[in-house]
Point group: C2
Chain length 322, copies 2
Amino acid sequence: MSNLEEIAKLSGFSKATVSRVLNKSRHVSPETREKVLRVIREMDYVPNRNAVSLSKGKTLQIGMITADISEIILPFMTSFVEAAAEHGFQTIIYTSNLDKQRELQAFEDLKQKRVDGLLIITSVNDLSVISAYGKYGPIVSWQRMERPDIPSVAMDQYDGYALAVQHLLSCGVTRIANAFGRPESLNTQRRIQAYEDLMAAHGLEVRRDWYFKSAYHLTDGQNVVHRMLGLGEEPQAIICANDYVAAGVLSEARRLGWDVPNELRIVSFDNMQIASTLGLTSVQNPIRNQAYNAFALLSPGLLKQPLPLKPLEFGLVVRETT
Amino acid sequence: MSNLEEIAKLSGFSKATVSRVLNKSRHVSPETREKVLRVIREMDYVPNRNAVSLSKGKTLQIGMITADISEIILPFMTSFVEAAAEHGFQTIIYTSNLDKQRELQAFEDLKQKRVDGLLIITSVNDLSVISAYGKYGPIVSWQRMERPDIPSVAMDQYDGYALAVQHLLSCGVTRIANAFGRPESLNTQRRIQAYEDLMAAHGLEVRRDWYFKSAYHLTDGQNVVHRMLGLGEEPQAIICANDYVAAGVLSEARRLGWDVPNELRIVSFDNMQIASTLGLTSVQNPIRNQAYNAFALLSPGLLKQPLPLKPLEFGLVVRETT
DNA sequence: CTGAAAGCGCTAACAA
DNA sequence: TTGTTAGCGCTTTCAG
C-alpha cells in the first residue's frame, strides 16, 4: 500500500501539498493539483482512514444502540442509516441483547473516539450512567428520555392516540378496548391518558377492564381476541399498539366469525407494510422525519453547520378495518 | 482526555510499560501493573482506538453489505453481528439501495483500512470489481458467488427443496405448484432442478405451467392464489419461496374457502417466526450456523487462530399446512 | 502557493 | 522486567 509520503516523492511535492489536494484545499495551483492527482490515480492510492481519524480526532461514524434488530425498529433504523450516510457518516450497530455491560461498550466507544456520536434506539442502562458519557460526544435517543440532557425524537403518543380515538368515535363507536405495549413506558401512559381524556370529554365510559397490556406481536393480538370473547359484553372496537398486534386481532377475529369492521373495528399504530397489505386502519408516525431529526439533533456536535429539524406530525390512514 | 503519556508520567513508568499493562503482556511485574492500573482508574483513562487501529493496522470492524435491511435478512444479520461480537469485532452496515457507487464505499473502506473484512449479504456490483478488492482483506458472501475467490456460506438449495418435495410426495400429493423467488438466481435454479428431478424420478408430471416467479412478499402469495384459480386444473400443493409468500397464499386461499391442507397443502422456506405463528410447514435453513460460518470464513484473515466451520443442514418442520 | 516539522496516541523492536 | 526510540499515515500550524 502506498502512502502520502510516496505520493509526495513521486509527484515531486511535499506531503503537505498532497494532503491539501486530498482535502480539496484552495491553496493549490491547478497544475500542481493535476500532477498530484495523476500520481494518486496511477498508484491507486487512498488515504488510510485510521490515520485521518487519529489526526483529525473524528471518525465520521455513529453508533446505534438497540437491544436487538427487530421488525419494529427496522424502518427507523434504515431511515437513520440513510440520513447519516447523506452527510458522510457511517452507522455501527451495537446490539445489547438487554445486557447492560454489552451495551456499555457503545458508550465506551464514544469515549474512545471510535464513534463521533450515539443514537439510542433502546437502552437498558441507567440514565445517570448514560448521561455521564454526554461529555464525550453527542447522544440522542429515539425513545423518550426522562432526563433533559439526552435529547429525543420521541413524539407525544397522546396526539397519535387521540387521532385513533377520535376516528372511532366519529364512526359512532362508544365501547372501545385497548391493547397497549410496554405497561411502564411513558408512551403507553400517554396513550392511556389520551383515551381516557377523550372518552371523558364525550361523556363516555372509560373501560379500564378492557385494557390489554404487553401486546407486541401477532400472537399477542390473537390472544387478545380470545380474552375479549370471555368478557360478557363485547367491545365494538379496539386500538392496538402496533400493526402486528392488530394483524393478530384481525386474523383471529375473522377466523372466529367476527365481522370486521361491522362488529369490531380495528385501529393500529405505525402504518407499516403489513397494515396496507391487510387493510388495517393505522396511525402513522413520520418515521423518516424522526430518523432525520435524530441525526439533526446530533449534527451540532458533528457538522460545522447544524441541520434544521423537520416537523413531526401523526397521520391517520383509514382502511377497511374501520 | 488523558493519554498514554500522561498515565506514564503519573505512574512513574514509561509509555511502553503502560502499553504492556493495557495489552495484558506477561512481562510486567504485578506491583507495576497494580500501580499503573490505579492511575488508569483514577484518571478514567481509556486508549484512543484510532491510535490503536493505526498502530496495529487493524480496526476490529467488519463491514456488512446489503441493498437494504429487510425482514428477510434480519435473522442472518443479527446472528452475524452476534458471532462477530463474540470475537471482539464490530459490524458496520453498508446499505446500497441498489446503487453501485454507494455500495463501492464499503469496498473502499476495506482498502482504506476502516474495516478488516467484508460480509456481502447482497451485492449489486460486478463480481470482477468485487474480487479486485480481495487483496485488501477477507471478503465472504451470503449469496452464492459465481467466482471461487469469494467464499460463500450459501447452501445448495437443491437439498432443501428436495426435502419439501419429498414430504409432499409422501403425503400422497402428485400435482405440485411452485412459487419461486428471483428467477435468475442460482438458488431458484437449484430449487427448480430439485423439483424436476424428483418428479421425474417418481414418474410424475413436471408442471412448468405451474411455476410462479418473483414471489417475495405476502401480497405476491395472495396473487398466486388468484392465478391458481384460473388454471382450470388446480394443484394439490404449493411450495413457496419463503414464509411470507406462504402466509399470503394461506390467508388468501382460506379466505376464498379453500381447505388447507386437505385441498391445498403449503410448504414454505426459512421457518421464521411467522411460520410457527401461522402453522406453516417450512424448510429451515440453519441461519445461525450460516452466520457463524460467515465469520469463520473471514477468521483466517482476522484472528491468529482460524475458526472451524459448523455443519449446515436443512431441516423440515411439519405443521398444519401439510 | 508550497514546504518543514511538530503533532495525533499508541505499538513494538531493540536495548539494557 | 523496563525503557528508548522509531514508526503507523495523515493534518496543520508556521515560515517563506
